[in-house]
């Protein structure tokens, strides 16, 4: 059964995102898609559905939502305070959003991008084969009050599952590989880049984030001009003033500034989720190690479903325990309640 999720209120950076639209690089459109692809995989695992389905991405601040029929939801990415009809619900978990109930999602408590997934996925119209908004390319729009989002048919029933919280929301060490222009930088500059304690700058969006540090900027060998070359998400571009920028999902497709390295895909969510001021450090790893890492990450994503566990709560902390028991067996969400109490 399909339904509609209505946006009652939206923060300033709320969009529909999926895995993006590969294949248009040649026409100047970067792949785009969710800033934190790991969060998409987690939401899909919690709802037992494909990771290619679209979800709502919320930059820094959530919004308020209402469904016209019972809807399974999952909340992943940057933890945000979430409330369904006055009752707080767990982050990194799946829940039942009953028809007409109000889901209020507040500001991120850590990290930058939170995600609201729905059973069956968000089914807004596709543009160039994907549903992702790519605002830099003029595809799609920011979600706003009154928008109605079609949700797809949902064959799943389970809710009340949770995934262990991840530590990717507070900055940290990010692994990089040498890329096509790394050799333009002297060895000493590469070493200094690894040793530098960076923090994420205030400038940052889905296209990229600035890296700031107390020391000097980074310089390629003198007087080297480079021909404009292909850019991929994760590339660390060094601007004319020596400031490195990490390019994210909605980056431009070509660029003339030299790139000192590329963040490995599995660490890109950590970079994208870092908030302004978060401490970041970079470590070069060998290409073979990075390739093995990607294989391992792909396998881990496939196993994510098996890592989802029923939300376990201390019965004393459930304020409306009595109402659960009273309605047990009488509503569609029966299984979920039993799992929650197990």
């Amino acid at each position: 059964m399909t339904g509609t999720l209505t946006v009652l209120r939206a923060g300033p950076g709320v969009t529909v995102q999926d895995l993006g639209r590969p294949g248009w690089l040649e026409y100047g459109v970067s792949r785009g898609g969710a800033a934190d692809r790991q969060a998409l995989a987690e939401g899909a695992a919690l709802l037992g559905q494909g990771a290619d389905l679209a979800a709502v991405e919320m930059a820094g601040m959530g919004g308020e939502f209402q469904a016209d029929s019972d809807l399974r939801i999952a909340l992943t990415g940057a933890p945000m305070r979430a409330i369904i009809d006055g009752a707080a619900v767990a982050w990194n978990a799946s829940h039942l959003l009953p028809a007409g109930a109000r889901l209020a999602i507040g500001a991120a408590q850590s990290g930058s991008y939170g995600y609201l997934h729905v059973g069956g996925g968000i089914q807004t119209p596709e543009h160039l084969g994907a549903r992702s908004a790519h605002l830099a390319a003029g595809i799609g729009t920011l979600l706003a009050e009154g928008d109605g989002l079609q949700t797809g048919p949902d064959s799943g029933r389970t809710t009340g599952l949770g995934l262990a919280a991840d530590d990717r929301f507070e900055g940290g060490t990010v692994r990089v590989v040498a890329s096509l222009q790394t050799a333009l930088f002297p060895e000493a500059e590469l070493k200094r880049f690894e040793q530098t304690a960076f923090h994420r700058g205030a400038r940052g969006n889905r296209m990229g984030v600035a890296l700031e540090c107390n020391g000097e900027g980074f310089r390629p060998e003198a007087a080297r001009t480079v021909v404009s070359e292909v850019i991929t998400p994760g590339d660390i571009q060094v601007a004319g003033d020596g400031t490195p920028y990490v390019l994210l999902s909605e980056c431009q497709t070509t660029g003339g500034y030299p790139r000192i390295g590329t963040v490995v895909p599995s660490d890109l969510p950590r970079l994208a989720q870092a908030t302004a001021g978060a401490a970041l450090q970079f470590r070069f790893i060998a290409l073979e190690e990075a390739a093995a890492l990607e294989q391992a990450e792909a396998e881990r994503r496939e196993r994510l479903r098996s890592l989802c566990v029923p939300l376990v709560r201390d019965p004393r902390t459930i304020p409306n325990l009595l109402s659960y028991q009273l309605i047990s067996g009488a509503i569609a969400g029966e299984d979920d309640v039993l799992e929650e109490l197990r």
């Binding site: 590969p22 294949g23 248009w24 100047g28 096509l180 404009s228 994760g234 895909p265 990607e294």
Partner: protein, 248 residues
């Protein structure tokens, strides 16, 4: 830009991030390197190796993104090397299905205010500059930076003029800007260091159209001078009066 002879150019294979490889046909833009990149990209598409996810070109290179579960770096590098060795790519024909586009443009006036500056930099009168820019048949060397936005070249040597160090804060959609023997036709309003010498009414990217992108790499373009009044009339046409002729 100096003339580059194909004899001095040697292709180079480099990795791009964790899951990409780049075959570069030169370290700077030249006609043979651009031609080789376009031809090699077309050959890659034809090969359609298992595990290759996407191919594209930049000015002098062909890019391959691949799935690490189906291809490894050594294997892909060997295949690319073997394909490179099959022929002299610098002597390759341009890809098929190319078109010649004639796009109406206003040169100068308040619609393209930097024509005088650009003409002076190229050592021409304004009339000579318009004659030169509208006579040139330029090729889409690559599309990039913004959706559907072409880099067009190569212009006669006189147009080897530098980009401005001071950025123009905003150049409108459809603007035709010149520098370093190239023209850029802007698909979105943007800040730029290129000089705004012409203005068209063409829309290069229409996300919901049957064919969302007007131009393909390898297409040729010639700009036909029109008056501001004529351009105003063409604004009702999403193609801005652009007409295509098949070259293949």
């Amino acid at each position: 830009m100096a003339e580059v002879s194909a004899a001095t150019l040697v292709p180079e294979i480099r990795t791009v991030g964790v899951d990409g490889m780049l075959v570069s046909f030169g370290s700077r833009l030249s006609e043979p390197a651009n031609r080789a990149a376009l031809a090699f990209r077309a050959a890659l598409a034809q090969e359609s190796w298992d595990g290759v996810e996407e191919v594209s070109t930049s000015l002098v290179s062909a890019y391959v993104r691949f799935d690490l579960r189906h291809l490894d770096h050594a294997g892909l590098r060997a295949r690319l090397g073997a394909l490179l060795a099959q022929r002299d790519w610098y002597a390759a024909e341009l890809p098929g299905q190319r078109r010649l586009w004639r796009i109406p443009a206003v040169f100068g006036t308040e619609l393209a205010p930097q024509l005088p500056q650009a003409a002076e930099a190229a050592g021409m009168t304004e009339a000579e500059a318009v004659a030169s820019l509208s006579a040139a048949r330029v090729r889409v060397q690559t599309i990039g930076f913004a959706p559907g936005q072409p880099y067009l070249g190569e212009l006669p040597e006189a147009w080897d003029i530098p980009r401005q160090s001071q950025l123009t804060t905003r150049i409108p959609e459809g603007a035709l800007a010149v520098a370093i023997r190239q023209l850029v036709l802007f698909s979105v309003a943007a800040p730029t260091g290129w000089m705004h010498a012409g203005q068209t009414a063409v829309r290069l990217f229409r996300p919901d159209a049957q064919e969302p992108f007007l131009l393909r790499p390898g297409d040729e373009v010639q700009f036909t001078p029109v008056t501001p009044e004529e351009l105003q009339g063409l604004r009702r046409d999403p193609l801005g009066g652009a007409k295509a002729e098949d070259l293949s």
